[in-house]
């Protein structure tokens, strides 16, 4: 187990001008569950390959516990990896698969046969795969295979870091959460540093203590799941996390200066963003002078997600002067209706970067404030 430091780490393929990974610095703490989240092409696989020693960085260094490992091979770094699809030694039974990393390094780690057996029993017990130990991989389901692959990655007690490369891709959707939970529980119990690479927000937000959101070869934000969702540091983070993502409104195009000013929006902010559940739908009110952030729009589409007390809830999409807006909650309008979107909470952005979170003032607050003055 190790603390991992990335120091101005960058990578570009030879002969390609545009670097795949822009220089970045990052510290991943010992025993931390860390997730790299991004769409395909964001650079997360490149970063993973740099960590695993498959690629050599063009700039910067990788430090494991203060030791520069940038040019070391993967096996020298003493790390383990779980791949997108289960990688097992097909001719070996599950127990031998688990024992493999310890047996292969027997000469250096001083494990006796009984130590290895005990460790196999412990890991198999943690993953509840004791009944599979004698089986050959080809008789296992994908789910079980991936469990074994995860088990093998956790066999070495002194492993510096376990890298997980979209480990749930091949697993059937309905069983994913069980694997996710096993993984998380093991991470906590064994205190292993884990880096989990994924494009799935649920996997990242559920698994990790901290999430790094990547796009275009950069890390846009590294923070706790809560922080990443509630206070995205960059517009892309707000868009990418959440289903559907944040609504964005250009300040110039919609809403009065007075409205934004009353809610404390910085003058240099260009856009505001709000999550679909931070807004509500109300019937169109008469000419409104209060400073609430609100727009009128026409319902384009209602996407039902379920019902609440018999009434449908879901996402309503509207066309308004502020552009296309999505609002989450009770569906109380039908396509074609004129309706008003009232935003309770929003974030202002300057140059696509986070500026401030605003709790929109309701009209009563406003009246109280003006009375004070």
């Amino acid at each position: 187990m190790a603390t991992i430091m990335l120091d101005e780490l960058g990578f570009a393929y030879p002969g390609v001008l545009e670097p795949t990974l822009l220089p970045l610095s990052l510290e991943i703490k010992d025993g931390e569950a860390f997730a790299l989240l991004g769409a395909s092409g964001a650079g997360k696989t490149t970063l993973l390959n740099l960590l695993s020693g498959l690629l050599v960085p063009t700039t910067g260094r990788i430090l494991f516990d203060g030791v520069d490992v940038s040019t070391q091979s993967g096996s020298q770094r003493n790390l383990a990896q779980v791949f997108q699809f289960p990688v097992l030694y097909e001719s070996l039974c599950v127990a031998d698969n688990l024992a493999f990393p310890l047996r292969a390094r027997k000469a250096t780690n001083g494990f006796s046969a009984s130590d290895i057996q005990a460790r196999v029993a412990k890991i198999a017990g943690e993953l509840s795969i004791e009944n599979l130990l004698k089986l050959k991989p080809k008789t296992l389901s994908l789910f079980e295979k991936q469990l074994v692959a995860i088990g093998r990655a956790l066999m070495r007690p002194n492993v510096s870091v376990v890298l997980l490369d979209e480990p749930l891709t091949a697993v059937e959707p309905r069983t994913k959460w069980q694997l996710r939970q096993s993984l998380k529980r093991l991470q906590e119990e064994l205190g292993v540093t884990m880096i989990y690479v994924t494009h799935d927000q649920t996997e990242a937000l559920t698994f990790a203590d901290r999430v790094a959101v990547m796009a275009d070869g950069r890390i846009l934000q590294t923070a706790s799941p809560q922080q990443v969702y509630e206070h995205p540091a960059h517009e892309f983070v707000g868009f990418f996390i959440g289903s559907p993502g944040m609504n964005f409104v250009a300040i110039k195009s919609a809403g009065s200066e007075q409205m934004y000013a009353a809610n404390g929006v910085d003058q240099s902010a260009q856009r505001i963003g709000f999550r679909p559940e931070w807004a509500r739908l109300e019937n169109v009110s008469a000419a409104c002078t209060s400073p609430a952030v609100r727009w009128q729009g026409k319902v384009l589409h209602c996407q039902i997600l379920g019902t609440q007390a018999g009434a449908p809830v879901g996402i309503t999409t509207l066309a308004s002067e502020a552009g296309e807006l999505k609002v989450r909650g009770a569906i109380n309008a039908i396509v074609g209706d004129e309706i008003e979107v009232v935003v309770d909470r929003f974030i202002s952005f300057i140059d696509e970067e986070y500026c401030a979170t605003h709790h929109a003032q309701s009209s009563t607050d406003y009246l109280a404030n003006t009375a004070d003055e």
Partner: protein
Amino acid sequence: MLRIQNVLLNSEVNCGFDHDFLPGGMTVVLGRNQAGKTNLCRFIAGLSTQVVGELSLNNAPLNHLSPQKRSVAVVFQAFVNYPNWSVQQNIASPIVAAGKDKAYIQSRVLELAEKLGLGELLQRMPNELSGGQQQRLAIARALAKEAQVLLLDEPLVNLDYKLREALALELRSILDDSETTVIYTTTDPKDAFTLGDDLLLLDAGSKLQAGAPLSVYQKPNTFAAANLMSDPGINTFAWSSLSDQAFAQQNQAASDISKLGGVRPEHLFSVDKGDFNAAECLGFDLQVSAVETSGDETFVHGFLKAKDLGVVEQPSWVVRSPGMLDFIQGQELLVAARKRDILVFGAH
């Protein structure tokens, strides 16, 4: 109208089913892996020899026609395009094959490319496109055929979730105004609501239920249908374990110990003991075993405490609530569901 009759989707099914697909609308076929969704598509397209049954389009039988002669277009899970043809040639291929004149081909290709956001990419080769673009191309080509029936067999399953989300909505608007009968297969109940005018539930090669998505959701015929139309799966409890006898009797099931109660994960919410409204809600004590979040929703996995245990279908319960909630593993929760949201199933 596309009609199937007495269809056996695989050799293990011994009782066939009938279905009339909504003409000019989109029918979502929902089922797990191996439920027979792909077999159904292959049968309608004429690609399968295993499926037995009668197939007719506007009352004219289709069974004896070869795939080329059927007015059916298909989009598969994998991105299938002609690799050595450009985007333009790919889209044009079905129209060229139909022998239409040049001017028409030109305008139709441009129209479709524009509609599917491929307008800038007409000269590219398929391998120069991203996954999402390749699948758009496959859809454009299928649309170009101007078939009366369009089959989409889990077309978005191989895409990143963000793309999937966007493309599903786009598909909806692209197909909204067309006259084509669309069949869209999926494993995700969410797609049923997003895309479906009509819904057909398949399980192990048999038809479970059909109807408008919301009505299937609200009034499932069987436990299997309710469970299929629920993500995560439906929570169950033995009806006989219910302490609220008055409510149990309302459903005339108190004496029937084989009855099963069901609650959808999204209909459960956690309440303080003091705020619990026994007149409107049923309460369950849950011990939290795991918490998962996608940001906009939180999934709390847990076990029912002993007094509520009966014969249950799922070993654990899931509560699905909006927002990011902070629960700790091992914590005890009182979760409630409104009585009108409770589902009752007979013995099965």
